[in-house]
Amino acid sequence: MSRAAVVNAAIALSILAVPLYALAADEPFLITLATRAAILALAGVGLNIALGQGGLVSLGHAAFFGIGGYAMGIVAFHAQSFTPLMIGPLEFQGSKSMPLIWLVAILSSGAAALVIGALSLRTSGVYFIMITLAFGQMLFYFAISWPAYGGEDGLSIYVRNGFPGLNTLDPIQFFGICFALLGAALWISARLAASPFGLALAAARQSVARAQAVGLNVPRIQLAAFTISGMITGLAGALFADLNRFVSPTMLSWQMSGEIMVFVILGGTARLFGPVAGAALYVLLEHLLGGISEFWQIYLGGLLLAVVLFARGGLVGLLAGGAR
C-alpha cells in the first residue's frame, strides 16, 4: 500500500471512529459533528472535481449546495403541510423519502450547473471566478425574496426525512447514510480521475493548447466536469438541510462557496481525500476554537495562509508527500 493510500485510509477511519466512540460514550453531539464533517466533505468532493481535476475555480458552488438544500426543503415542505405542489397540470404531493429527495436535489443542481457552467465557461481565469460568484449571488437574492418558502427566514422541516429500513432520527444511522454517500462520491471521483474523461480533463487543466491540439473538445469536457461537480455538491446540500432540518438562503451565500473551497485547499487540491481532511479539520477547529472565541475564523485564516504558503499540497500533501 502506498503512503497516500495509508493516509487516505487513516482519514476515512478517523471520521468513522469519532461517531463510534461517541456512540459508546453516549455523546450524540459528537455524532452530529462527525455527520456535519461528512456532509461538508461531500460538498468538497464535488467541488474538487471542478477545482482539483478540472482547474475550474468556481466561487459559486454554494448555488448547487443551496439548490440541493431547497430541493429537500421544498419537496418535504409540501409533504408536511399537505399542500400539493402544482407543476403545470401535474399535482405533486411532496415526499419525505430521502432517495426521492436526493434524486430531485441531484437533478436540479445538475441542471443549474449545466446552465451556469455553459455560460461561465465562455470565460476563464479571474472572469470565471467572478461570473460563478455572480450566479451564486443571483440565486442567493432570489431565495431571500421568494416568500413562498420562507424567504430570508428560511424553511423549517419538522421531522427528518426517512430512508427505507432505517431510522434516520437515530444520529448514528443518519451518520451512516452520509458516510456511505461520501464513500460513493469518493469512489466516483477516483474512477473519474482514472478514466479517459479524467485524463482529458487533466490535460485541459494543464495545457489548453495541448488538449486542443489532440482534438479534445475542451469546453464540453469542462462543462461535463462542472455539471458532475455541481450534482455531488447538490446532494451534499440536501443532506445538510436534512441534518439541520432547516434550509435558508445562507446555504446559497458566497461565504458558503468560500467555505467549500477552503475545505479543498486545506486538505489538498486534486487529492482524492483532500476535501475530506479539509472538512474534518474545519469542523474540528470550528468546534474547538469556536469555544474559545467568537472570532475563531481568524485562526482559520492563519492556518489557511500557512497551508497556501508552505504546504501547497494541503494537509494530505503534507502527510502523503510526493507530487499529486
Binding site: G198, A200, R210, A224
Partner: protein, 249 residues
C-alpha cells in the same frame, strides 16, 4: 495531385501591421515543405491561422480538399492536422506515457468515457508505446513530463503528434534549442516521417531545412516571396538579400 494542406490568399492585419499578405501555399503528399523567414516575418501568425487558433481576415485553409477555415483548432486536429509547438505544450504533471495516450485518446474520439480505465486500454497503450518507441522515449515512458530534458520534450511533442495518425504534420521549429546531436537525430526522424504524412516544417535551423525540404517557401514581411527547391532557393538573389543576409554580388 490534390494538396493535403493548402492556404489560399490568407490575409491578416494587426492595425497597420500586415502579418499575412495573400499567403498561398500547399503541402503535397509525401513532401516536406519548409517555411523559412526572418524573425517577425509572420510565421507564427500564419501557423495559428492554419491551426485554427486565430481566424484570418480573408482567405481560406483547406485540409484534404475540404475548407476548414471555420473549424476550431480541435476540429482541425480531428480532421487530421497534427501540430507540434515551438514552446513545448505538454501536460507537465502527467507522465510521458500518459501524454502519448492522451494523443491516442484524442484521435480515438472516446474522451467522454467515464467508466473505463484509460491506462488499462490496450488499444490506446499500443498506439502510445509505438509512438514513444519511434522517437526513442521508451525508457522514459513513466517519467513525469516536468522532469524531462528540453530535448526529450521536443521528441515527446513529435510522439504525441504521431499518435494522432494525422494526414499532415505542422511542425513549429522542432529543432529549437536542440544541440547538434539532437538536431541530427530529429532530422533523421523527420526524414522518415514524411512517408507517413507530409510535413509543413517551420524551422530556423538551415542545415536541417536544406537537408529535409523538398520545397521551401520564404516568408518576408507577411508575403511569400518565393517557393522552390532547395537548390533554387539557395541561388535566389532576393532570398539571399532578404533572408540569408548576404549582399547580392
Amino acid at each position: 495531385m490534390t494538396p493535403v494542406l493548402e492556404t489560399r490568399a490568407l490575409c491578416k492585419t494587426f492595425g497597420a501591421l500586415e502579418a499575412s499578405r495573400d499567403v498561398s501555399l500547399s503541402v503535397r503528399p509525401g513532401e516536406i515543405h519548409a517555411l523559412i523567414g526572418p524573425n517577425g516575418a509572420g510565421k507564427s501568425t500564419l501557423i495559428s491561422q492554419i491551426c485554427g487558433t486565430q481566424p484570418p481576415d480573408s482567405g481560406t485553409v483547406h485540409l484534404m480538399g475540404q475548407d476548414v477555415t471555420h473549424l476550431s483548432a480541435a476540429a482541425r486536429a480531428r480532421a487530421g492536422l497534427a501540430r507540434t509547438f515551438q514552446i513545448s505544450a505538454l501536460a507537465p504533471e502527467l507522465s510521458v506515457l500518459q501524454n502519448a495516450v492522451l494523443g491516442a485518446l484524442g484521435a480515438s474520439g472516446g474522451s467522454f468515457r467515464m467508466a473505463a480505465r484509460v491506462m488499462g486500454d490496450a488499444a490506446l497503450l499500443v498506439e502510445a508505446d509505438e509512438a514513444l518507441d519511434r522517437v526513442g522515449l521508451t525508457a522514459q515512458r513513466d517519467t513525469r513530463v516536468s522532469d524531462l530534458s528540453h530535448a526529450q520534450r521536443r521528441l515527446l511533442e513529435v510522439a504525441v503528434a504521431l499518435t494522432l495518425r494525422p494526414k499532415v504534420f505542422l511542425m513549429d521549429e522542432p529543432m529549437a534549442g536542440l544541440g547538434a546531436d539532437g538536431s541530427r537525430a530529429l532530422t533523421a526522424l523527420l526524414a522518415d516521417l514524411r512517408n507517413e504524412a507530409p510535413i509543413l516544417l517551420v524551422e530556423h535551423d538551415m542545415d536541417a531545412v536544406f537537408v529535409l525540404a523538398d520545397r521551401i517557401s520564404v516568408l518576408v514581411y507577411g508575403r511569400i516571396i518565393t517557393t522552390g527547391s532547395p537548390r533554387d532557393i539557395r541561388a535566389d538573389a532576393a532570398v539571399r538579400e532578404a533572408y540569408l543576409g548576404e549582399e547580392t554580388p
